[in-house]
Each structure stands twice: as structure tokens, then as C-alpha cells.
Chain length 115, copies 6
Amino acid sequence: MTKKWRKEFEEERSRLNEIVTSSGHLGIKRFFALDDQAYHAGALPPKVKELIGLVASLVLRCDECVSYHLIKCKDEGVTDEEFYEALNIALVVGGSIVIPHLRRASERHENMQEK
Amino acid sequence: MTKKWRKEFEEERSRLNEIVTSSGHLGIKRFFALDDQAYHAGALPPKVKELIGLVASLVLRCDECVSYHLIKCKDEGVTDEEFYEALNIALVVGGSIVIPHLRRASERHENMQEK
Amino acid sequence: MTKKWRKEFEEERSRLNEIVTSSGHLGIKRFFALDDQAYHAGALPPKVKELIGLVASLVLRCDECVSYHLIKCKDEGVTDEEFYEALNIALVVGGSIVIPHLRRASERHENMQEK
Amino acid sequence: MTKKWRKEFEEERSRLNEIVTSSGHLGIKRFFALDDQAYHAGALPPKVKELIGLVASLVLRCDECVSYHLIKCKDEGVTDEEFYEALNIALVVGGSIVIPHLRRASERHENMQEK
Amino acid sequence: MTKKWRKEFEEERSRLNEIVTSSGHLGIKRFFALDDQAYHAGALPPKVKELIGLVASLVLRCDECVSYHLIKCKDEGVTDEEFYEALNIALVVGGSIVIPHLRRASERHENMQEK
Amino acid sequence: MTKKWRKEFEEERSRLNEIVTSSGHLGIKRFFALDDQAYHAGALPPKVKELIGLVASLVLRCDECVSYHLIKCKDEGVTDEEFYEALNIALVVGGSIVIPHLRRASERHENMQEK
């Protein structure tokens, strides 16, 4: 994994999203909009929503969903301490089966902190 | 479901926890302690941690875990708006398979708000 | 389980859905609409879509989702043979962990066939 | 839960299995046979296989599957210490989301030990 | 991903299946046979069964199972419209956690349509 | 996959574990210790515990967890016959969705047997 993982991840995600949306299926398009809106500011701030999305992705064990919320958490200013407390909740709720995803999430998180 | 669900839930939970801990298995006892500590105040406040626990329980579809965090969320002062925004994230992440749990969570939440 | 399970199931489902929708959360309301539309006639007929929904609910092991699609399958004219072939796919894909749900689905299906 | 849970569980299981097998679907019938044979004595003794089945059922969170293997474990002479060590593995692998199932499994296990 | 993904996928699958079957375990061999037969023509046509298999694989989030049924769906003549309606059901049932698999499935599907 | 998969797997695992533990989060550190201890000799021998861990990892479909327990099973002297009987239980419990993981587990197992 290179330091450029974020850029590569975002480009691949955009490329594939275009394939999906070019299908023209209205239900899928609307679902994508609902997904986006669920993390917008409301009664709960985006930072809290992204932490919730991160932990939900970890306990459901989806690396790509984890990477997506990792990036959002960084952009929302989640600190190292907050990040590892969220990871700890995911670990306790989801068990050791979560560990491989927690390891990769930690590496990607550390990688984004480097200058 | 009666208004007393919280009391009945907590009593049954305590009764069964005693059966588990009376087994004397040290690993299980230590896991229960780690589980408890994961939601204590730290860099993230308990309210945020309980919301995370609530959504993680919903996407993993465990009614009892949901009920446990519902109670904690209420005690931490989670508002109606915050509650339904968290439920919405769980629904979008986990899909329609979450709906039966979301329905029951909503009823239990409303039930706790009544005087 | 009584022969009236369908009526009781539908009434309870309506009652709880009202609690959810009375929350007024727009995202949840829109998700419920997308969920509904996904099974409407399109390139694939409703009968095929309900069979897909039934098997998806079985492999994800949600009794209420199974019951919902059981009713829809019956209304779409799914025959006994078609029903058990769908159940067999769910069993092979999802394994023996699906069996308790398959048992209850079979009972509810047979119950609906009785005069 | 009464002391008679085992008898009630086994009768209900038989009753529903008859509904399934009376469907006459050959694939389902063959799957049930494969399921049965997987726990027969082979290179691994039935006791080890039942412990494996118990933990697999716990991490997949199926109460009925857990109850089935609990009974088999008892009949194979699994001791209290062995039982709780298996439960501990299930808890560590599957996380706190397993706890409600672990609680009920412990009660049912203790219940079977009583004279 | 190259246009040759189908060929590479099928070759790797065959190579690994040989390793499994050369173990000589009768139960595994019989399970593979049951798996194969579940999608044969019966009361439901193979096309419907493959669509069911595709959606079940998507909601359980197994890329290889998805790829397998994608190929079968193409061979059974599933159209673009039918394909995206099935994907939409998988998305609604399984939630946003399905999206990474839906993206890859869409790319592989489009790839197979190209001349 | 080369014959050196075990060495590469163990080195990568160590490298990532260091990233996680260097976070200094006490809860995560304690969870890792509980995870380790769960497989130590007790009333059940390590070989049985590793077989349980292997099957739990297979039904939860985590390749890395499977690889970890594969190595441990080999070190505990699990024979070919015992290995495939455990795999068969995982297959029956978890269904065809387990097959891609079972294939890779078989290849890695065979690979470790070669001289």
C-alpha cells in the first residue's frame, strides 16, 4: 500500500460509480442519493455520522466502506484518540473476525496522517 | 409490549448474566469488562459511543443489543431527531433487512418517551 | 401458530410502520418507498421479484422479511413446486443455519394453502 | 423457560421437519441427510464435531441451531469446563453481538445439568 | 480487470475445485452436486434460478459467487434491464454495504456485453 | 500463491499488528490478549480449539482468520482427514457461500503439506 492509496481509491470508486449510474436505473440512483444524504449535517454533526458509518462498516467487515468513511473521518477532523476508541467499539461488538479489517484500517489511517 | 419493557428487559438481562458469570470462566468475565469499558467516556463522549453501539447493533440485527443501547441512549439524552438520524444511517447501511428491527426499536424508543 | 397468522402479521406490521413513519424522518420515508418500488413490475415480473426477495430474506435469516415475501408470493400465484425449489436454493446457498427459517416458512406456506 | 425445554424443543423440531420433508423435494431431503452425516464419527469424534457445530451456530447467532448442538454436546458428555471454553471462543470470535445467545445457551446448559 | 476475466475466473475456479475434490471427502463431493442441481430446470426456469442465485450472492457479499452467477445469467439470456432490476433488489435488501460488490458486478456485466 | 504463503502471511500480520498496538489503546491490547488466550490448553486441547477457530472463521467467511487457524491446525498435527471433516462441517453449516473460502483453504492446506 502506497501513500497514494486515497487518490487511487477515490479514482477507482468514481470510475465504477459511473458504470453503475450509466445503467440509468432510477431506483439505484435514488438509493445512492439517500446514502449520500444520510451523512449530511442534521441533529447529529457529520463527524459523529462518519464515526457511526466507520464502525458499521467495520462490524459488517467491508474494507471499501471502511476506507470511504476513514477518508471522511479525516476530513471531519477525527483525532487519533477518537479513531482508536471507535475501532475498539467495533472490535468488541464484532469480535476477532473484525481484526483483519481493523489492521488495514489502522494502516490506512496512519498513512493519511503522515506528511 | 408494555410500558414496563425496560424494567423487564433489565431484570431478565441481570438474571441471565448471573448464570454466565457464575460459570467462573475468566475469559468470559474479562470480555464482559472490556465490553463495558468500550462505552465509557474518553476522547469520544458516552452519547456518541452509545449511538455507535446502537447502529452497530441494528446493522448486525440483534434486538437485545439494540434494546440495551436504546436505554443507554435515552439516559445519555439522545433526542428524537438524533435517534431517527442514527436509525436512518442503520437503514441505509444495512438495507431493508434491518426494517423489522428498526420498527421494534422505534416502538421501544417512543414507549420510553411517554410519561 | 394459528391460521390467522397472515392477518395478525399484517396488522402488527402496519401498526409498527405507523410509529416509524410518524417520526417524520424524510430519509426513512424515502427508503420505504424505494423498498416498495423494487418489487413492482418492470423487465422482471413481480412473481420473480418476490421469489428473489423470499430467497434473499431466507439467506439473511429474517423471519419477518420471509413472512412478508411468502404472502406476496402466494398473491402472485407461486405454486408449491416453485416455492420449494426457491427454498432449496436458499438452503444450498445459506446452509443448515437457514433450516429453522425454512421450517417456519414451510409451515406458514402450508397454512396459507389450507381452505 | 421450563426444565422441559429439551422435550418441547425436540417435539417442535420434529413436527416442523415433517412439514418440510412432506414437500417431497429431493434436494432438501438430501441436504438434511448431508447435515446429519457431517456430525457422525469419522477421523474426528462426534464430541469434537458437536462442539464445532455449537460454536459455528453461536457465531452465526442461531438460537435453535445452538439448542440442537447443546443437546448433542450433553449426550456426548461435554463437561461444564469444556462447554464454557467453547462459549469463550465463540464470544471472542463473534464479539458482544453473540452475548444474548451465549446467555440463553448458558441457561439451557445449566438447566440440562439439573436433576 | 481485463475482458478476459471470465476465462481467468473459470480456469482458476476449476483448478481450485480439483484440489477440493481430490481430497476424496464424500460429503463435500455430494454438497457440490446438490449445489449444481439446485439451479437445474424444474418448476422454475434456470434463468429465474440464476437471478435468485445472483441476488443471494450479492446480499451475502461474495464476489466470486456473484461472478459465477453473472456468467450463468448471461448464458441464460438475462437482459440489461433485468440485470439492473435484480441488482436494485439486492441493493435495497442488503443496503449500502452491498455497493462495492454491485459496482464490480456492473463492471463485469458490462465487460461481458462488449464485442 | 507460492509455497511461501505462510511466511509472507505471518510477516504481514506482524507488521500490521505493530501498527495497531502502537496506537497504545488499552482496550484493543486487552482484546488481543483475550483472543490469544482463548486457544490455550485448558479442558479442551489446543488442537480442538484450533479446529473450532477454523470452522468459525470459515462460516464467517474471513480468509485471513482461516489462514491463521490453518497454520495453527498444522502445528497441532491436524491430519488431512480431520481437516476435510472440519471443512465439511463448515460447508454444511454455512452453505455454498463458503465454497470460495473452502477452495482457498484447501489449496493453502495442501501447500503446507508439500515437502
